[in-house]
Symmetry: C2
Subunit: 217 residues, 2 copies
Amino acid sequence: MKIGVLGSGMVGNTLATKLVELGHEVMMGSRTADNEKAQAWRKSAGGLAKCGTFAEAAAFGSLVLNCTNGANSMAALRLVGAGPLRGKTLLDAANPLDFSSGAPQLTVCNTDSLGEQIQREFPETNVVKVFNTVNCQLMTDPSVVPGDHHLFICGNSAAAKADTIAKLGEWFGWKRENIIDLGDITAARCTEMYLPLWLRLMSVLGTPRFSIQVHQG
Amino acid sequence: MKIGVLGSGMVGNTLATKLVELGHEVMMGSRTADNEKAQAWRKSAGGLAKCGTFAEAAAFGSLVLNCTNGANSMAALRLVGAGPLRGKTLLDAANPLDFSSGAPQLTVCNTDSLGEQIQREFPETNVVKVFNTVNCQLMTDPSVVPGDHHLFICGNSAAAKADTIAKLGEWFGWKRENIIDLGDITAARCTEMYLPLWLRLMSVLGTPRFSIQVHQG
């Protein structure tokens, strides 16, 4: 299918590369169409890889992935506008983290979240928050961490979540039973607020290649 | 040993009951010495159980546990004052949650935490943040959730943390390898900010008897 990937950083690059490998046409969107990282990716990723602006990539995809820097995601999505995203599912993998003051801080949390902000500003788009609690290597290959560990998903559209869960299995090998549906998009504040713990664990463990499993008693 | 347990709610009751069963002298502290829940606990828990004010319980214990409602913990600890806590380890199991507006919210987060607030206000006390990421039944018996799941600990004093980790093993059966030291007390904001996810998981799973295991790749 045609997929728009917004963002040319590590997350966007990893997802876009894997999606091209799977045979999808992928347009990577950046602030400017001549973005160097996006152009370099296009050249290395082969014939199914395209580059464009954020708006062009969103218009291109029948599915759109937000892989922009979370602190700048709203600005990037405003460059797209409502039109190219209308009626589509937007997978939001971003975390609104600001590292400028040393200790990482969320730019929105507790009473709101990036996922909710996006859904409010784009009410005709089905925002599905997913992927933001794992490193990008795990997104496209959960087996890089052995065992049954869990991915969290949330969003207001049950149909969009079901379709996303099916694609996560088909494309990346995520087992259905290892994906936990946390409910509506307000749960985005729960998974985004997990990031400070995730970042501290990365520091303590010395690797971003980890994930958590929920055990029940 | 003599232990002061501040708070007569479910967490304080569970910990105090288990500690008395283990043969410790425990004084449960409340705002007033005649607190009904604390008195009822004392009568049911046997001869090693005592009741008093927050200040009396803190003075009584050579180890002190903060099990007060996190939104009110600072007020409770100010009733104690620095003197009764000086030179002691204070295990802080509280989460600064406010449920009054419907959706639970943290009263402090992101740039600060309850654990840090306590440590700043009581610089001569070794604050160890622990227990706040699991239900109280798991605190005193990790086996209620099968498998290897993790408990997080943090604090500025390595000695206080080592002593706490030893006691968690001896008293409650927490395996050393299932306790993750996240570093100094600033990590309290990481574990406290996990609570929105914990609360959402409790709602989705339908039980507070769950815990997370960190898997490494």
